[in-house]
Symmetry: C2
């Protein structure tokens, strides 16, 4: 980079940046829409702050957000990316994160009394790279810049610092006189900065190198890939989906079982030390609402949260499709029940063409990683597909239309979806094939008898909580 | 209430609730749109949870959110309403808050080692009532329900509690065997529950009383008032706005002053123990951007946040107009600079007719209360109006159009706004008259010389930080 670098005329650079920003904003909702997430890390006093300040003077500052926070310690209570979810830029925006997952990783590796070991450290690095790739695939361009500084220059800069600045910096860190720490930091960061832009903080072109890098990232706005590289292969549809059970549970037996199971499920959910996520998908009128009602029957409404997932809002559509679920997991409590979920990406969005083939085909792996992150960070996920026969659906639709307080549960859209019955079966089959993982398998409950379905849902939850 | 109460047929009640919910949702963006915020408080074991659970079974649970959190201690670091901002329902939605500002007030009054005194307690109650009135005026209907229970019944219920439930409840509170605490709680809550629905937790109709109350609140959807009760009187336009200073600051003097002042402002902002909010309004091209650049010149980008306020998004329009500013204050740091602000309500929204007369005329007092809350909770607010002459604006617009990297700063809209010049002067005059408060006065900086304006902005900030 350094040998090829040519400083630009400052006015020209500023103009180019502003024009590129404008083009980025104009791209919103277009085929080449994207956002820019800039991760800025480095040695203290290498000039991160100055470079960003200079950038801010060259660009239109209204469309450049800067976020900085104290470093967090990585812990097993939440995925490392969760604290940064609110700052994810939407299409057309640029966000600079000073405090980011690499800050947290370094701080965790260096400062806690019980630092993480090398293999866990490398594990985090691999995960972060993958997470960033997922962001890029979802139109968040991730730019990583490390501002470096030699030990000698660092010492010299500390000596020369202005008192007021020194006071502010002191709040941030205090180990710059310790050469061992400096060396450890350099050793640790070198394990992830291979694909970063590394800028020497003593380089007189520092701010221009940084700004030109951002400029070229801004200019690079290719159209989103809509077709998938590999030929798609449909998976066989599980027999259960085509022919749900017909047998009807005896009413007295149902009541008995229900009484015991609702109590057992309430206790299991309540006292599970993990965050429990129960996730329902299935055909319309398959009984998701009724099943959820039984799950929470013996719980207090303060103990759980039901997330009814409808179509995304415009501001959600301008971010990665998983973002709105990240948001929900961030603020909510211990028991989260999803009435439809992130699997919408590979179901309705696939079938209705809201997601391109490349997008929904990529989503399986993205979802698996998302769930894996949750599971590794103290969550358990129970995934249930409720299946009924096509005839049973019709009967339930009609009953809904005739029952006053159920009339609102049936719309034109339900009848339209019904016309895509076979497409939904195929999408479900592919979803099972690609996202039934060992720690979070799909449970198919296929019966035309509501009561049987409810009992099986409760049993499934108990089983899954014990299994993992 | 109790003597008049008649239990309804459950199916009918459920149907009515579902229909009213549906109507509420359909009202979105209409003349009678509103949301429902239900504050649920009371004695433990009085059946709050059961009543909400029953309500959830009667209504369409997808459109009823329930939020519960541990009680917070009220402190001088943030306004009591700030933690609840994320849970403010949008038009068409119903949210039940178990944990809310009254929970926090009671818990603060009862539990901390240094409880707040009676006068502060009453002060909080008055503020809360006013805040709720502001919410109602902004189409968030606030319903308050207290679930009560006699001492004897409470003791009896503790004796009879199921073990699993007992374990869960234990996490929440532990003082139910202490009659003194019970009496204190009753004494304290009686000071704010006069206008609440108080339901006896031992009443067999408990859940119906609660649900019917919600039903009648849902049905009560009058059209928003668009005209104001009082005749509006324009305020005289300050002379400075009509004739900004023309004299030009000597360049060398400017540079000298700038150097000293940027350093002084950086220090003053950096080391002020309060959260500093600087808020810019003024005519287009009056130099807000340039002034902001000088404020932050000697600061690190990690030390401040610039909020550029544009038109609200659809999801923001469905909430009280101050909501999007509450949100911004919630997550950001110590130094917040607003390039346009909540005063848009009484400026552009008034002039363009986005807010009805009743709305913008009410907004002055709402804004004053909002700022007062911030100031009482460790913030200082510096409000600056930048004025230029109409000729100067034209010159700057044209210069922008001719300067490549400023071309994006000028749009058709700017020229359109210019046609409303006099309306903006009038709106500004009224804003000064109604919102220049002692702790947060407006500072008018009226000059056609950019450099003079910048110096005066810096001096104003220093002065205001010292004054309060």
């Amino acid at each position: 980079m350094a040998e090829k670098f040519k400083a630009m005329d400052e006015d020209q650079l500023s103009l180019d940046l502003i024009e590129a920003q404008f083009a980025l904003r104009q791209s919103r909702d277009q085929k080449n829409a994207k956002s820019l997430l800039i991760l800025v890390n480095g040695i203290d006093l290498a000039g991160k702050g100055e470079a960003v300040k200079q950038l801010r003077e060259w660009v239109d500052p209204r469309y450049l957000k800067v976020k900085a926070d104290k470093a967090l310690v990585l812990e097993r209570e939440q995925p490392y990316w969760l604290p940064y979810v609110p700052f994810m830029p939407k299409e057309g925006q640029i966000t600079i994160l000073f405090g980011n997952w690499y800050t947290d990783l370094l701080s965790t590796a260096m400062h806690v009394s019980n630092p993480i070991d090398d293999s866990l450290y490398d594990d985090y690095i691999a995960k972060m790279a993958q997470y960033e790739q997922d962001l890029r695939n979802n139109n968040v361009d991730v730019i990583k810049v490390w501002f470096d500084l030699s030990w000698e220059t660092l010492q010299q800069r500390i000596d020369e610092m202005e008192p007021s600045e020194a006071r502010w910096h002191k709040l941030q860190s205090s180990d710059w006189r310790n050469q061992n720490k400096y060396k450890t930091l350099q050793r640790l960061r070198s394990r992830f900065t291979q694909d970063w832009l590394v800028i020497d903080g003593a380089d007189k072109n520092r701010d221009q190198i940084f700004a030109q890098h951002i400029l070229s990232a801004l200019k690079d706005c290719p159209e989103h890939i809509k077709t998938s590289a590999k030929k798609w292969k449909n998976n066989p549809i599980p027999q259960a989906l085509c022919a749900p059970e017909k047998s009807v549970l005896d009413k007295a037996e149902y009541k008995d079982k229900l009484k015991t199971l609702t109590r057992e499920v309430a206790d299991a959910l309540r006292f599970d030390p993990r965050d429990v996520i129960v996730c329902f998908e299935g055909m319309d009128a398959a009984g998701k609402g009724g099943a959820i009602k039984r799950i929470v029957q013996k719980l207090d409404p303060r103990e759980y949260q039901i997330h009814s997932i409808a179509a995304p809002e415009p501001y959600e559509l301008r971010r990665p499709y998983l973002w709105r679920f990240w948001r929900r997991l961030q603020t909510e409590g211990d028991i989260s029940i999803f009435d439809r979920s992130w699997y919408g990406r590979v179901l309705v969005e696939r079938i209705e063409g809201f997601a391109h083939p490349a997008e929904w085909q990529r989503a399986y792996a993205e979802i698996n990683r998302f769930e894996q992150d949750l599971i590794e960070n103290n969550s358990v996920i129970v995934k249930i597909w409720l299946a009924i026969s096509k005839d049973e659906q019709e009967a339930r639709f009609k009953a809904r239309e005739e029952t006053p307080h159920k009339r609102f549960k049936i719309t034109e859209e339900d009848w339209r979806n019904r016309e895509r019955w076979d497409d939904y079966l195929q999408a479900a089959a592919d979803m099972f094939a690609h996202t039934s993982t060992q720690p979070a398998p799909w449970h198919i409950i296929a019966t035309d008898d509501k009561n049987t379905a409810r009992i099986e849902v409760l049993e499934t939850i108990l089983k899954q909580l014990k299994a993992t």
